[in-house]
């Protein structure tokens, strides 16, 4: 069994529980043990880098240092926003002399920069797909709009994705799971991210364009790989629909939930009951058969 460092981040403990559940479920299928970093702390998110650049490096750096101590050279960071902060911190420490000396003093830990954060997409490609390829028994006969948002594709120096303006990695995963990945226009547009609470109106506007484009092109679900994108597209649906003429009901699901379904895992074990916009219709459409995990 492969072991890999796991940084769930605050969302996966709260608003994105289903992401955590489904990620762990598919990891089990792939024979990977996700070892949660000991006593990890919040990455600081937008708040830290908006207000204090030192904090923005130091908070994630503590997690990197913990991972190093635990002997991991890879840390799975399923939240794209956390990934971006951890990867940026690593980048700064590696490229900026100033941080190299300052950070260890701040976090009171040594840091060599040997633990590399990886995204959920890289994780799936590297550790999961090969292992589960033959177990994808439940072909997902539906149309999916793969949504990447900002932080998986930008900035360039942190992104591992090719064709950043029109990426196709998630599409390939969807295809492998038997689904149809549609071509659409809002794959890499911003969902409003951190303005969710303060300027919900803006998030509503931005997400309206996204869900509208996806559903008008016939998608049955939007597939995401970031809890921030998910909570904006899912929990903010009433705000979103204020900007649309119709009541848009297209569910937003995690890529891990999608793989879980394709593996035949029961939807509730993947956290589908936790969605604000129910995925029931869509799931029924898949005519699933389920297996016990």
């Amino acid at each position: 069994m492969t072991k890999i460092g796991y940084f769930p981040g605050c969302s996966l403990n709260g608003t994105a529980k289903e992401y955590d559940l489904s990620l762990k479920a598919i990891a089990r299928f792939a024979d990977v043990e996700l070892v949660e970093l000991n006593d990890w702390n919040c990455c600081g998110a937008t708040a830290a880098h908006s207000l204090n650049s030192t904090l923005a490096v130091a908070l994630p750096a503590r997690n990197l240092a913990i991972a190093e101590r635990m002997g991991f050279d890879e840390i799975l960071v399923p939240c794209a926003a956390c990934y971006s902060r951890l990867a940026q911190a690593l980048y700064e420490i590696k490229s900026d002399e100033k941080y190299r000396t300052k950070i260890p003093q701040l976090i009171e830990m040594e840091i060599k920069g040997t633990a590399n954060p990886i995204t959920v997409l890289d994780f799936i490609n590297k550790y999961v797909l090969d292992k589960i390829k033959d177990k994808l028994t439940n072909k997902l006969n539906a149309k999916f709009a793969c949504y990447y948002g900002c932080l998986l594709t930008r900035p360039e120096h942190l992104s591992t994705i090719e064709r950043r303006e029109d990426p196709l990695v998630m599409e390939q995963i969807v295809k492998l799971a038997g689904g149809i990945a549609i071509d659409w226009a809002f794959k890499v547009e911003c969902c409003g991210a951190g303005l969710s609470v303060v300027r919900t109106d803006i998030v509503g506007k931005l997400c309206a364009k996204i869900v509208d484009d996806a559903s008008s092109r016939g998608a049955d679900a939007i597939v995401v790989a970031c809890p921030m994108c998910h909570s904006n597209l899912d929990m903010r649906r009433s705000e979103i629909n204020k900007n649309l003429s119709t009541d848009n009901k297209i569910p937003a699901i995690y890529i891990t939930q999608l793989l879980g379904l394709a593996l035949g895992i029961e939807p509730n074990k993947l956290g589908f009951d936790k969605h604000f916009v129910p995925a029931d219709n869509f799931i029924q459409k898949l005519q699933k058969q389920t297996v016990e995990v």
């Binding site: 207000l51 930008r154 911003c190 609470v197």
Partner: protein, 192 residues
């Protein structure tokens, strides 16, 4: 007899500070507007990214002031769309981060931005106290700071029902270490 022959030196323009401190070259921007065209928020901003850069390029104290007092710098989501498409590779979000902390330092924050800052502050307070983000704590503290007491009242019960709200925050063991990180980082921000 000694006469005063030197003319008063000019105040250091922000663009020089940006160059010295974060190594971004405002002068590279040639005002094509591609950033504003792609920015998800340029429609909401008082000054679009290229306009902010233009003000910085001019380098007059009044223009720098306008930049620091603008609302736009607080709306930026750091989505990096502008930067990734900029033909001149101007890392605008990086400059935005700098402008925000500069605006706070010089106490020139746009009145409407107070809410955004309050949110960020509440967020950081939550981390400072527990090491992680507690959503209940965050919302409560933010509401107290802004008096937006009714905001999202419909959301909370639903979240709670779906097991997405933890009433009691998780406190990490290294809370003291986190607090010390905060203390040192804050001190540093004040010193420069």
């Amino acid at each position: 007899m000694e006469t005063k022959s030197k003319i008063e030196p000019l105040a250091q323009p922000l663009k020089e500070k940006i160059l010295n401190e974060i190594n971004e070259q405002v002068m590279k921007c040639y005002q094509c507007g591609k950033c504003a065209a792609g920015c998800p928020l340029s429609g909401e901003m008082d000054y679009t990214p290229n306009q902010i850069l233009r003000l910085l390029q001019i380098g007059e104290p009044t223009c720098d002031d306008e930049v620091l007092r603008s609302y736009g710098i607080w709306l930026c989501l750091t989505c990096d769309t502008c930067h990734s498409r900029c033909p001149q590779e101007v890392d605008f979000p990086h400059i935005m981060d700098f402008l925000r902390s500069e605006a706070i330092k010089r106490k020139k924050v746009h009145p409407k931005a107070k809410e955004i800052i309050a949110f960020h502050r509440s967020f950081l307070e939550s981390i400072e106290k527990t090491g992680r983000l507690s959503e209940v704590g965050l919302i409560a503290s933010y509401k107290l700071k802004t008096f937006n007491l009714l905001q999202d009242v419909d959301l909370a019960p639903k979240m709670f029902a779906k097991g997405k709200l933890e009433i009691f925050p998780h406190r990490i063991k290294g809370r003291q270490a986190i607090a010390r990180i905060f203390e040192k980082a804050m001190k540093e921000a004040h010193n420069d």
